[in-house]
C-alpha cells in the first residue's frame, strides 16, 4: 500500500524539531508532507523561509486550493485551519480547536477521511493535546502513525497525549527493536509496509522511518 500524504503536528519546541526532521528528508523524497505548527495569529511567513534552509524540497505556506504535489512540503498558515480535499488543500477560519488555529486535529481528521490508509500521521513535541484525536482517526482508518518519544521531546505533553489516545499496547518504543525489525522485514516488502503499529521514536529516527515507509527500496 503506497502512502500518498504525510501529516505532521507540533507546537512547543516544534521549530527545532522540524529542523531535525526535515534535515533527514532526502531530496528525492516524493510523498508530500503537510505540517501544522501551532503559531500565533500574527506570525508571518518567515517560518517557511527559515525551514527552507534545512530541506532541499520546495516548502511553502498553503494558499487556498493549492495542489498537493509530490515532493513538496506545505505549512499551515497562521490563523487558518488546514484541511485536505482530494488532491488539493482547503482552508477554514472556523473556531479554534483545542485552542489552536491551525489545529492538528483538523488536519489529521481531514487527512484520515480523504486518504484513509494512505496517510502517515506524525506527532512531535508540543504543549497541549491537539492532535491526539486526529492521530487516532488516522490509525483507525488503517494509516500509519509515528510519535516522537516523549522522553526526548522538548515538551512531552503532546506526544504523551497522542500515545494515550492510541492505547499503546502495540507500541514498540525501543529504537533498537525498530531498527532490527526493519532489517528483518526488508526481505518481505509486503510485510514491511503493514505498519499500523504506532511507532514511538527519538526525533532523529523519524525521518529514516518515513523514508523506509515511503521508499522501502531506497532505505
Amino acid at each position: 500500500m503506497a502512502f500518498e500524504l504525510i501529516v505532521v503536528g507540533t507546537s512547543l519546541g516544534g521549530l527545532s524539531a522540524l529542523k531535525v526532521l526535515l534535515s533527514g528528508i532526502p531530496s528525492n523524497f516524493s510523498v508530500p508532507m503537510a505540517i501544522v505548527q501551532h503559531r500565533h495569529k500574527d506570525s508571518d511567513q518567515l517560518m517557511g523561509v527559515f525551514l527552507h534552509d534545512f530541506v532541499s524540497l520546495p516548502i511553502k505556506e498553503v494558499e487556498d486550493k493549492d495542489e498537493i504535489k509530490p515532493g513538496h512540503i506545505y505549512i499551515a498558515p497562521a490563523d487558518y485551519h488546514l484541511l485536505v480535499e482530494w488532491e488539493h488543500f482547503s482552508l477554514s477560519t472556523d473556531a479554534p480547536v483545542s485552542y489552536a488555529r491551525p489545529s492538528i486535529d483538523v488536519l489529521f481528521e481531514s487527512a484520515a477521511d480523504v486518504y484513509k490508509n494512505r496517510v502517515i500521521g506524525v506527532i512531535l513535541t508540543g504543549a497541549n493535546q491537539d492532535g491526539a484525536r486526529g492521530l487516532m482517526q488516522i490509525k483507525q482508518r488503517g494509516g500509519s502513525v509515528i510519535i516522537q518519544d516523549p522522553s526526548t521531546a522538548e515538551s512531552a505533553v503532546m506526544p504523551t497525549a497522542a500515545l494515550r489516545s492510541l492505547q499503546e499496547k502495540e507500541t514498540s518504543h525501543i529504537p533498537e527493536i525498530a531498527r532490527s525489525s526493519r532489517k528483518r522485514v526488508l526481505s518481505k516488502p509486503e510485510q514491511a509496509l503493514e505498519s499500523s503499529v504506532p511507532l514511538v521514536l527519538p526525533l532523529t529516527e523519524i525521518a529514516p522511518q518515513l523514508v523506509y515507509l515511503c521508499h522501502p527500496l531506497r532505505s
Binding site: V62, P77, E85, S90, D94
Partner: protein
C-alpha cells in the same frame, strides 16, 4: 461523542442532505468545499444530539427551526474587526488614493457574515474622509446573520483584541470612540451604518445586482469548491467597474484561476486586485 465512521456511507449521506436542502429550500451547498462542510455538518449533528447525518437530514427537512440552525451553522464565518491589519494598511495606501478621485463610491461586502469587516471598512473610510461619498452594500445569504450584522453589537470582551488590530491597521483615533459599552456588549455608533444597506444575497445562486468600485470578499471563497469559486469570480468580474478593486483574504488567491489574467495585484501578498480593462 465517538461515532463509528463509515466514510463512504457518510459521503452519500452528505450528498443526500445537501440535495434535500436544495430541493426543499433553495439553499445550494452542493458546491461548498467538502472537507470544511463535512466538519461543520458533524458539528451541527452533534449539537442536535443526533447519531448520524441521515438523522440530521430528517430533522432539517421536517423542522423549520432546525433548518434555520443548520443554515446559520453553515453561514457564519468567524472573523474579527481589522483581521489582517496589513490588508487595511495596504487598502489605505493603495486604494484610498484611487477612491478619492471618484465623486461617488459603491462598495460591496459579499458574504458579510456578522459584519465585523463592514464596520472596519466604514471606520477606515470615515477616517479617510470618504465615508459620506460611499454607498455600502453588505450582503449575506442568511437573514438571521444579517440582522446580527445590522445590529452592530459585538461582545465587549472582543474589544481589546479589536483595538489592537485597529491600531495595527493604521487607525487614527481611539477605537473606543466608535462604540459604547453596555453590560457585556459593545454597540457601534449608528452613524457608521448610515451609508450601509444590509441585504440578502446568495453567492451560490443569485446574480449580479449592481456595479461596484470595490468588492470585499475575504475568507468566504475558501468555503467553496473550485466550481463555485469560478462562478463567484465571474459574478464579481461582472459586478466590478473597470479598474474596480477586489479584496480577498490573506491566504486566498487568483493565481492559477481562469480570472487571474483580468486583474493586477496592487500590493504583493495583500490580495488587493485591480480589474484591468
Amino acid at each position: 461523542m465517538t461515532s463509528l465512521h463509515r466514510p463512504e456511507l457518510e459521503d452519500i449521506e452528505v450528498q443526500l442532505l445537501l440535495e434535500g436542502v436544495y430541493q426543499c429550500y433553495g439553499y445550494d451547498f452542493r458546491n461548498y468545499a467538502l472537507s470544511s462542510l463535512k466538519r461543520r455538518i458533524w458539528t451541527l449533528t452533534h449539537a442536535e444530539d443526533l447519531p448520524n447525518i441521515s438523522a440530521l437530514q430528517e430533522r432539517v427537512l421536517h423542522d423549520r427551526a432546525c433548518l434555520e440552525r443548520f443554515i446559520v451553522g453553515l453561514s457564519i464565518h468567524v472573523t474579527a474587526m481589522f483581521r489582517d491589519p496589513s490588508f487595511y494598511m495596504a487598502f489605505r495606501e493603495k486604494v484610498i488614493p484611487i477612491l478619492r478621485t471618484y465623486p461617488f463610491i459603491r462598495i460591496w461586502h459579499a458574504g458579510c457574515s456578522t459584519g465585523q469587516e463592514v464596520y472596519s471598512m466604514a471606520i477606515l473610510l470615515e477616517e479617510e474622509g470618504l465615508y459620506q461619498r460611499c454607498r455600502i452594500y453588505a450582503t449575506d445569504m442568511n437573514e438571521q446573520v444579517l440582522q446580527k450584522a445590522k445590529s452592530g453589537i459585538f461582545p465587549l470582551e472582543l474589544m481589546q483584541e479589536y483595538t489592537h488590530l485597529y491600531q495595527k491597521a493604521g487607525g487614527k483615533r481611539s477605537f473606543s470612540e466608535y462604540y459604547t459599552a453596555a453590560y457585556d456588549s459593545a454597540i457601534f455608533r449608528a452613524s457608521l451604518k448610515e451609508r450601509i444597506i444590509f441585504s440578502q444575497h446568495n453567492l451560490a445562486t443569485d446574480s449580479s445586482f449592481n456595479e461596484f468600485n470595490v468588492i470585499i470578499c475575504r475568507n468566504v471563497l475558501i468555503y467553496f469548491n473550485k466550481t463555485l469559486q469560478q462562478r463567484v469570480h465571474k459574478l464579481f468580474y461582472d459586478s466590478l467597474c473597470t479598474f474596480g478593486i477586489l479584496g480577498l483574504g490573506k491566504q486566498e488567491t487568483l493565481r492559477l484561476t481562469p480570472h487571474e489574467k483580468y486583474y493586477t495585484e496592487l500590493k504583493p501578498g495583500e490580495k488587493i486586485y485591480r480589474r484591468l480593462n
